[in-house]
Amino acid sequence: MPQAVAIQPALNVRRPGWRGWGLFAPMVAWLALFVVAPTAILLVYSFFTGEGIGEVDTHFTLENYRRIFKPVYLDLFWRSIVYAGATTILCAMIGYPVAWYIGRAPASRRGKLLMLVMIPFMTSFLIRTYAWFTILHEHGLLNGFLESAHLIPTVFSHPLNILYTPTAVMIALVYTYLPFMILPIYTSVEKLDPSLIEAAADLGAGPTRSFFRVILPLTWPGAAAGILMVFVPAIAMFAVTKIMSGGHIRLIGDEIQEQFEGGGDLPFGSALGMALLILFLVTYWISAGRSAKVLRGT
């Protein structure tokens, strides 16, 4: 979480002399070349004109941005926000109790529990996505299980068709991003002073009240970081949506990929990228601002 690390002034800090700047130089050069320059090029490209596949005309135009405001692409952005938002909410609801449980576990057990959460994510997320095929397939394990439990002709009239539907996409997205929610919340929970909760209880607050009035505000910085770390990558994801939906559901990431690959309209793709970047900065600003406000309030 980028905003988390504060620069602590040590005793021997000083202004860099020419030698100090010399040491800074490689790092600054790296940033200029591989962070600032590419973003600048993306911005410049977004004002060019796409001329057929892969060809770029360097005439200045605002047409690409005008095109983004067509209903087709507004829809696309909206759909991406909905999917990423739903993923974030589900991850928070599923992950919060887990983070709480691990954070409140005896200190000796926390590391092990955390490791247990992390291990599955050491394998490629793509291979894990494909692993869901085995389960959700029409002739997969889920339907096999339901059939052998005699639930299929009774409760469900026919085998469940989950693969290649929005449900499958949601399962895969939540699965991919869950640990990104659990970890930051855990760090907040771990720091929580248990006497505060006790105090709330002593003052007669019920569990619900003490959760919403005491616990949630105190762990909000972690939750905000988690929201950022799930929402941002989820909104720009490609591949998972395509694989799990059988090519049905396209989000903004898929469209950008398409423009940079198949559609070949690089300037329009760049404009979509810039729009996504702005969306990202707004999300970042909101969630970072929120967590700071909560911190100040306590």
Partner: protein
Amino acid sequence: MAHPLPSGNSLARLFLPAWTIAVLVFLYLPIILLVVYSFNNVPNNMDLSAHWHGFTLRWYRAMWADRLLMQSVRNTLIIASAVTVVSIVLGTGAAWLMHRFVFPAAGGLQTLILLPMIIPEIIMGVSLMLLFRAIGLNRGYLTVIIAHVTFCFPFVMAAVQARLAGIDPSLEEAALDLGATPIRAFFSVIVPYLMPAIVAGGLLTFTLSIDEFMVTYFTYDARSMTLPILIYSEARTGLKLTLNAVSTLFIAGTVILVLAMELLRSRR
């Protein structure tokens, strides 16, 4: 020592572990299936159904024989190693310099460094692709490594900064007083102190690089193809249980590494 939960929470006491176990099942089920099916003797690679056709090791044998697959595994390890080394140097250096010096733009620089950690990967991917295209750098190992380092070294920096925040300033002063040059003081006193953070950052970098897909997608070429890219293009064309076999080995490697670290820690 367990902290007592708020009173009247016997429900929570049952609910929380049960919920955690359920979530762990959710997290592990696909992984376990992945491992189990790497031993499945499926006769036809068009068969996507979950039938069990008997135990076999042939996917592991086929895996060794698959030149493309082995090349991508080697690429993945080479790239991740190079990225880790460069990121450690850049990240540790950056953290130390930011700690050591104050200057007006420090905050801005800090944000700029950390931005690639959270910026949507696809934006990094396409913008780097445009950059490489503009400066005429052909796709290959170098472009992939550059792209990975750009979003990995901030992780090392953040880890090292967290440790630097707790450093005792007299540590370096003591080293300097003993007559060491600042550079020697840095390597003989500061680096050992920072080592746990450097290792943590390095390991994180390594795992991030191994699993990176989206940025790599826009910067690789045929020779520098990594495992995630191969998985993406191969798994779309039917069942490839050799991919399960490779992944199983990766999981086993991770588990062994984790256990080894745990063992190392408990010994100390």
